[in-house]
């Protein structure tokens, strides 16, 4: 008995220590610190169910531990035959009825929240973004505003933004844990969900449905800015001149190489409908290169020269003739200058 208790205690302490060290996870990624309406509704239910379940667990464990201590066969009891009990109606009724009540306590708020989060009544008066999931990047089309972007989704704080999502290839799942639970992105139908972020910030988003080798690298960001900044961003993005000549000879050479290698066949600059590859209109403002790397020129060069080494199975590999490091450097110089707006991830406050 002692060994059992001692070991479980050590295990418990170790686990608690581990949790303490790990905390609740990274801010703006963890679902445990909700910063949006959906995440908050989920968290309410997570807390309610966890508390009830801990209660049930304690009841089970108390009976279990007492039974083990009290009724363990002791020396001299080798021939003891316990009373053979068939059952007990009163007890059996209790442990049938109480769980039914507990289930009802969980079920009612669950159903209410389910309908609440599926509410689309405000969709027509809110900002709508068409989201397309692709292996392994995200396409964002603000249809009414005629803005197209990718990887970084800009939304205003405190407002509901409806996302109408569909996949261009396999099933993906759109998840920004801090703001809202996830919704699958299917190839056959449009799924609608809304984001309502409370605070400005840059929030991590992840693909949550296995979609191929680089599934774990299909990160994106949600950039939550103030409504004024968002309006500013919209107007900046609407006034982009895709043909604008960049500064410096290297960047200009990069622009020429971008055209010569036919990069535009997949990558649009400006609000063109081309969506074979990520739209690059505000590439210089992006919070990452390829969704996962720091937004530096070196990383971009590495990505252009050999994308397969960074995102296995991506569709850019082999789509163009090999590019030397020097050429890639020029292209990177050009792309990093694509900064049409003052509103960047830094504007979001972190």
């Amino acid at each position: 008995m002692k060994g059992w208790m001692g070991k479980s205690k050590a295990l418990f302490l170790f686990t608690m220590l581990a949790l303490f060290l790990a905390g609740c996870g990274k801010e703006n990624l963890t679902a445990l610190e909700p910063k949006g309406y959906g995440a908050e509704r989920s968290m309410d239910l997570i807390i309610l169910t966890t508390l009830i379940m801990i209660g049930v667990f304690l009841v089970v464990m108390v009976i279990y531990v007492i039974a083990l201590i009290k009724f363990r066969r002791k020396k001299g009891q080798e021939d003891y035959i316990p009373k053979q009990i068939e059952g007990n109606h009163k007890l059996e009724t209790i442990w049938t009825v109480i769980p039914i009540i507990l289930v009802l306590i969980i079920a009612v708020p669950t159903v209410i929240a389910t309908f609440d989060l599926a509410d689309e009544s405000q969709a027509s008066t809110s900002l709508n973004v068409e989201v397309t999931g692709n292996q392994y990047w995200w396409h964002f089309n603000y249809e009414d505003e005629e803005i197209v972007t990718s990887q970084d989704l800009y939304i205003p704080a405190g407002e509901r933004v409806y996302l109408n999502m569909q996949s261009s290839d396999v099933i993906h799942s759109f998840w920004v844990p801090s703001i809202s639970g996830k919704m699958d992105v299917n190839p056959e139908n449009v799924n609608t969900m809304f984001l309502e972020a409370y605070e400005e910030g840059v929030y991590w988003g992840k693909c949550a449905e296995l979609c191929g080798p680089s599934h774990s690298l299909m990160d994106f960001k949600v950039i939550v800015v103030s409504p004024e900044e968002f309006d500013q961003w919209v107007s900046d993005m609407q006034n982009v001149d895709p043909e604008q000549v960049p500064e410096g000879a290297v960047a200009q050479q990069g622009q020429a190489l971008f055209e010569a290698n036919n990069c535009m066949a997949c990558h649009a600059i400006g609000s063109s409908p081309v969506a074979t590859g990520p739209n690059l209109t505000n590439f210089g403002d992006r919070s990452t290169v390829a969704g996962i790397l720091e937004p530096t020129k070196e990383n971009l060069v590495e990505w252009i020269v050999d994308p397969e080494s960074i995102k296995p199975g991506n569709k850019m590999t082999g789509a163009y003739p090999s590019i030397s490091e020097e050429e890639a450097n020029s292209i990177a110089e050009y792309l990093m200058q694509l900064k049409p707006s003052e509103i960047t991830p830094e504007s979001a406050g972190n």
Binding site: S42, T114, F115, S216, L217
Partner: protein, 616 residues
């Protein structure tokens, strides 16, 4: 054929015996060997997964190989390890518990085993050319578009194994309905036999959904149909429905026999009859019934709408009620008893808190809006490992210690058993408890790498350390088996002061099990005879000739036919010449069926003389 094979037989004779056997006990042992092998293989895959995730942005294995690893780990553990290991126990123990001399269809039983085994071998041969990589759930369209033949191996391998499982299920149902000993009414059946019956009913209704899904997948991949091709009007969500209409009951196919095992072990080692037997039986049925009503809780994020999500959420939570009834009945079986703690009981005692956690996180997952956060994250991984390892694997290990003496005539070593238990038990909680939090902290499942600086490092490291403990525990258990086989203590007929019919037979039992069928006077028949009689079963029939089925190599040959044909189906996509393999394989299989149908096989009789000559 002589009854007592006391003389030493050569290896080839033993091999031939097992290749041709239709004896439920030997088929059971074959299932245990096959399932055990795949369990170790699946465990190795799990360890590789955990090593890859020991630190952020690790490159121990490549992204493609990682996806193959997770796919094969899940598929292997569910279809090729857990299910067959349980089927092995059911095969061996259930006929003994209900007082039968074999299952209803011994030939079919052998065929079921060989089909499962060939399916497993076929699936694992894919390692040489590229394993399936679309996850064990094999969602379309990722699976349909998966290059190479990996997913084809998945489809054909599971089709073969599934056919074998379906056959065994039917066999068990007929056996239990028609072959119970005199006096063994339904409400006197041991819980393990009850759960075998209910599980078999689940198999009967659940596996056809998988069969249909696999056929659609096979036609899409091999014969250019477009069931799952959206561009041509197909629908990918159909696969998810078919898979989970099978997949959710499959969870209960695994856990109900586990419940049955604990319902045998707890009364035996508490020396007290099962508390609330009737409630236990009805709870089993209720869980099985509800198990078919909840599949869409795996699909809360698919976008089925709030009405469907609410209905499936509430139905899911309802399962907590019968499961809770079971937990409390076990606790109150121990209450007032005289509890002995040995290895079998340790695994059982470890099950109660572990499975309670798994069941509770199940209710939490059932709350659909909370599931929007949990879905497809490590929270789910933690949940189902608490259920399947903390429930099913603990049950299997408890059952091994409990029934090993009956099956192999020797008692597993207690010291090694306890060492294996503690390391595995601690490792299990280290590995999986932290994963609940990893999921909520933003780690989706099936992630080849997690990035640096996202707060996920410590949790993953702890989890991997736990996996090494589990590995150590497993190795100790294997050592225990080897040690016991060589030097283990010989087991008497009734080493645990048992209560049910299997403990009335010698360890291991004669190949006809019961010389005379026993007369059953109530629940726990042996216990009744111990406390109210002379400790022996009263025969229900005079000593007479026993009719037993003949061994046959035909099940194996038929299976080889299907195996060859499956290979042909997979590769005819590349070159039509492979169709020859399809024709040859099908000819062998159909020819074997024809032979089996046309040739009379009346079995053999064990004469009264032989039975009398054999010492008790």
């Amino acid at each position: 054929m002589s009854i007592t094979a006391t003389q030493k037989r050569g290896f080839s004779a033993v091999l031939w015996d097992y290749l041709t056997t239709v004896d439920h006990k030997k088929v059971g042992i074959l299932y245990l060997i096959g399932g055990g092998f795949f369990f170790l293989l699946g465990g190795l895959e799990a360890l590789i997964i955990r090593i890859q995730l020991i630190k952020p942005e690790n490159d121990f294995i490549s992204a493609g190989l990682y996806n193959e690893m997770i796919t094969m780990h899940g598929t292997t553990m569910i279809f090729l390890a857990a299910t067959p290991l349980l089927f092995g126990l059911m095969n061996y123990i259930m006929p003994l518990q209900i007082g039968a001399r074999d299952v209803a269809f011994p030939f079919l039983n052998a065929l079921g085993f060989w089909l499962f085994f060939s399916g497993g071998v076929l699936l694992n041969l894919s390692w040489f050319t590229g394993a399936p990589d679309a996850g064990w759930t094999n969602y379309a369209p990722l699976s349909v578009q998966s290059p190479g033949h990996g997913v084809d191996f998945y489809v054909m391998g599971l089709q073969l194994a599934g056919a074998g499982t379906l056959m065994s299920g039917i066999n068990f149902i007929v056996t239990i309905v028609t072959m119970r000993a005199p006096g063994m009414t339904y409400m006197r059946m041991p819980l393990f036999s009850w759960t075998t019956l209910v599980t078999s009913i689940l198999v009967l209704f659940a596996f056809p959904a998988l069969t249909v899904g696999l056929f659609l997948m096979m036609f899409d991949r091999m014969f250019d149909t477009a069931f799952f091709d959206v561009a041509l009007g197909g629908n990918t969500v159909i696969w998810q429905h078919l898979f989970w209409i099978f997949g959710h009951p499959e969870v209960y196919i695994l856990i109900l026999p586990a419940f049955g095992i604990f319902s045998e072990i707890i009364p035996t080692f508490s020396r007290k009859r099962l508390f609330g037997y009737t409630a236990m039986v009805f709870a089993t049925f209720l869980i099985a019934f509800l198990g078919f009503m909840v599949w869409a809780h795996h699909m809360f994020t698919v976008g089925l709408g709030p009405v469907a999500n609410s209905i499936f959420a509430v139905a899911t939570m309802a399962i907590a009620v019968p499961t809770g009834i079971k937990i409390f009945n076990w606790l109150f079986t121990m209450w007032g008893g005289s509890i002995v703690i040995n290895s079998a009981m340790l695994w059982t005692l470890a099950f109660v808190p572990s499975f309670t956690i798994g069941g509770m996180t199940g209710v939490m997952l059932g709350a659909s809006v909370a599931d929007y956060q949990y879905h497809d994250t490590y929270f789910v991984v933690a949940h189902f490992h608490y259920v399947i390892v903390g429930g099913v694997v603990f049950a299997l290990l408890a059952a091994m210690h409990y029934w090993w003496p009956k099956m192999f005539g020797r008692i597993l070593h207690e010291g090694l058993g306890k060492l294996a238990f503690w390391t595995f038990f601690i490792g299990f909680h280290l590995t999986f408890f932290i994963q609940h939090f990893l999921g909520l902290m933003g780690m989706p499942r099936r992630y080849w790498v997690f990035l640096e600086n996202q707060g996920l490092d410590t949790g993953n490291l702890i989890s991997t350390i736990g996996a090494f403990f589990m590995t150590f525990g497993t190795i100790v258990f294997v050592i225990n088996i080897v040690y016991t086989a060589m030097k283990g203590e010989k087991a008497p007929a009734d080493p645990w002061d048992g209560r049910t019919l299997e403990w009335t037979l010698s360890s291991p039992p004669a190949h006809y099990n019961f010389k005379q069928l026993p007369l059953v006077r109530g629940l726990d028949p042996l216990w009744i005879e111990k406390t109210e009689g002379n400790g022996k079963m009263t025969p229900a029939e005079p000593l007479d000739e026993i009719h037993m089925p003949n061994s046959s190599i035909v099940p194996l040959i038929m299976t080889i036919g299907f195996f060859i044909a499956s290979y042909g189906f997979i590769y005819q996509v590349d070159h039509k010449a492979w169709l020859i393999a399809v024709y040859v394989g099908m000819a062998i299989a159909l020819g074997s069926m024809l032979y089996r149908s046309l040739k009379d096989d009346h079995g053999h009789h064990i004469t009264k003389d032989e039975l009398e000559r054999e010492a008790d």
